[in-house]
């Protein structure tokens, strides 16, 4: 009975991703233009209104932000170009099928469940971003920025329900709208920051560096309203580390195999520079400027109010659009990932249940204040699997080990992958509980995961060699 339900679970998950089972064919490959546009559009979202201010609140200096973001984003671009893209063009498979081949079907079930939960929380944070803008009329009505919790809950319920219904009914329409709004959002970020600089005493370009040091990134940490303590101080190393790890699940974690498998050449991984330098450089700097101006004006530095300060109603609309654009497809993908864990529920029912979880997450005020921690946790959870894909493809043949061992042996789960994933995360959790900054745990976790995976795989393949291959492994 148990075996039947297990195989049914796996076959349902396989069926969900059936369309992407085969490697992308030559005729479906895309050129440079679409990758520039895809990356530029994907990395300008509601979170940019939150992350930029975090560097101000965490007391970064101007040099730490401007130089640290430049270096961190460069590392991210290089990771896409030299780690993710070469795997993508070599295998032409999604991350799902790549994990399936090396880790077996049960590892894909675990990956989907973890990924689904993460997406659910991220959708909640996007919803919260939109709510900060939609709460502006209420704040005017109540005459205070500090709205009672029940109003946030009502907002979350109202707006979240619309997003959930849109995710069920019109995911494609939302994706097209997202594509259309991307260039406008970039401009809104730019113009908001430029028009806000005079509020900080910056009257000319030659003033900028002085104002940046004295008014924006002053090196002084702000008070965290959710804990009553000051935010931790961030140095240039934190900024570099965060800019790099922010999209770790996409590049080192290999989630962007799904996009880059359509690339004609691995060099198209460099197109990620469009997203990094427009979204994670310019937009983060712009929102940092808005945050500093808001603090100076006595305005709460949350996305809605700072955008309203920057561009009036246009800024407020931008926050709503930026939040919705990401929340709806994120919710759709969360539903897809978690559909496997339900007793044959339809897509709409799963998406609505996931939507309810998103609404609950959006009611947590600390979600935005600690978005950096949330994104770091996301990276720590998903990073090891990307590391296994990379090592399995490039290092195993050089070590005389068989790639995609689980596929060759038809194992339901690769214990080396499962154990290395679990142990590397346990070690990170222990280090975190002993006071290690999670931003600096990402690279050590990658090294631990890889070392354990190689050692366990060598042991496994020595004890039980894989059968002679019927076809060449990719």
């Amino acid at each position: 009975m148990a075996k039947t339900s297990h195989s049914s679970l796996v076959s349902r998950l396989d069926a969900l991703y059936e369309y992407d089972r085969e490697p992308v064919t030559q005729k479906d490959l895309h050129g440079w233009k679409i990758f520039w546009a895809t990356f530029a559009g994907e990395h300008i979202a509601g979170t940019e209104f939150v992350i930029g201010p975090l560097f101000v609140l965490h007391g970064c200096s101007a040099t730490a932000v401007l130089l640290g973001l430049f270096i961190g984003n460069l590392l991210a671009v290089l990771s896409w170009a030299f780690v993710c893209a070469p795997v993508a063009v070599r295998t032409r498979l999604t991350i799902y099928w790549q994990i399936r081949r090396l880790g077996g079907p049960w590892l894909t079930v675990a990956y989907s469940a973890v990924y689904g939960v993460i997406l659910c929380v991220l959708a909640g944070s996007m919803l919260r971003v939109s709510m900060t803008s939609l709460a502006l009329p209420l704040q005017h009505g109540f005459g205070t920025a500090d709205l009672p919790q029940w109003t946030w809950a009502l907002l979350a319920l109202g707006v979240g329900s619309v997003i959930a219904v849109l995710a069920v009914l019109g995911f494609e329409g939302m994706a097209i709208f997202s594509k259309m709004s991307a260039p406008w959002m970039v401009i809104v970020f730019f113009v908001s920051a430029i028009a806000t600089l005079p509020l900080l005493g910056c009257a000319s370009l030659s003033d900028f560096w002085r104002v940046a040091n004295e008014q924006i990134w002053t090196g002084v940490t702000a008070l965290d309203p959710s804990t009553g303590k000051h935010f931790a101080h961030y140095t240039i190393w934190h900024v570099i580390g965060f800019a790099w790890l922010c999209n770790m699940p996409q590049h080192f974690g290999m989630a962007d195999l799904t996009i880059l498998r359509y690339a004609r050449k691995w060099q198209m991984g460099f197109c990620s520079a469009a997203g990094m330098y427009l979204g994670h450089y310019c937009a983060w700097i712009a929102s940092g400027i808005l945050c500093a101006a808001a603090i100076k004006q006595g305005i709460l530095p949350s996305p809605g109010p700072i955008a309203y300060l920057g561009a009036g109603l246009t800024g407020a609309i931008c926050v709503v659009v930026a939040g919705w654009n990401v929340a709806s497809p994120t919710l759709y993908r969360a539903g897809l990932a978690l559909q496997v864990a339900t007793p044959n529920w339809s897509r709409w029912r799963v998406t609505l249940v996931v939507g309810a979880a998103m609404i609950v997450c959006a009611c947590i005020p600390a979600l935005l204040a600690h978005l950096d921690l949330l994104l770091t946790t996301n990276a720590l959870l998903l990073l090891p699997l990307g590391a296994f894909i990379f090592i399995d493809l490039w290092l195993f043949p050089k070590l005389g080990l068989r790639s995609n061992y689980a596929e060759h042996t038809r194992s339901p789960i690769s214990w080396p992958a499962g154990a290395a994933w679990l142990l590397s995360m346990v070690i990170s959790v222990i280090a975190f509980s002993r006071g290690a900054d999670p931003i600096f745990l990402v690279l050590p976790e990658w090294i631990v995961a890889v070392t354990l995976y190689v050692a366990f795989s060598a042991l496994q393949q020595k004890l039980r060699p894989a059968p002679v291959p019927a076809a060449a492994s990719v």
Binding site: I176, K179, S181, I187, G312, T314
Partner: protein
């Protein structure tokens, strides 16, 4: 017609950009800049559906 609408879309964005620079240099008041930004937004979303391709990106 499509070219004209495309031109109008980007002119709207350029107008928003120019208005922000004028605020920065003290040549335009903030309320006027906010009206220009909102007008640019309306023009962008009013014109872009007519010329931007509805085909989704590689991943979608």
């Amino acid at each position: 017609m499509k070219k004209l609408l495309k031109l109008l879309s980007f002119a709207a964005l350029a107008g928003m950009f120019a208005a922000s620079w004028m605020v920065f240099s003290g040549a335009l008041s903030r309320p006027t800049y906010e009206i220009v930004a909102l007008s640019g937004t309306v023009i962008w979303f009013g014109t872009v559906p007519f010329w931007m391709k509805r085909r989704l990106h590689a991943s979608e």
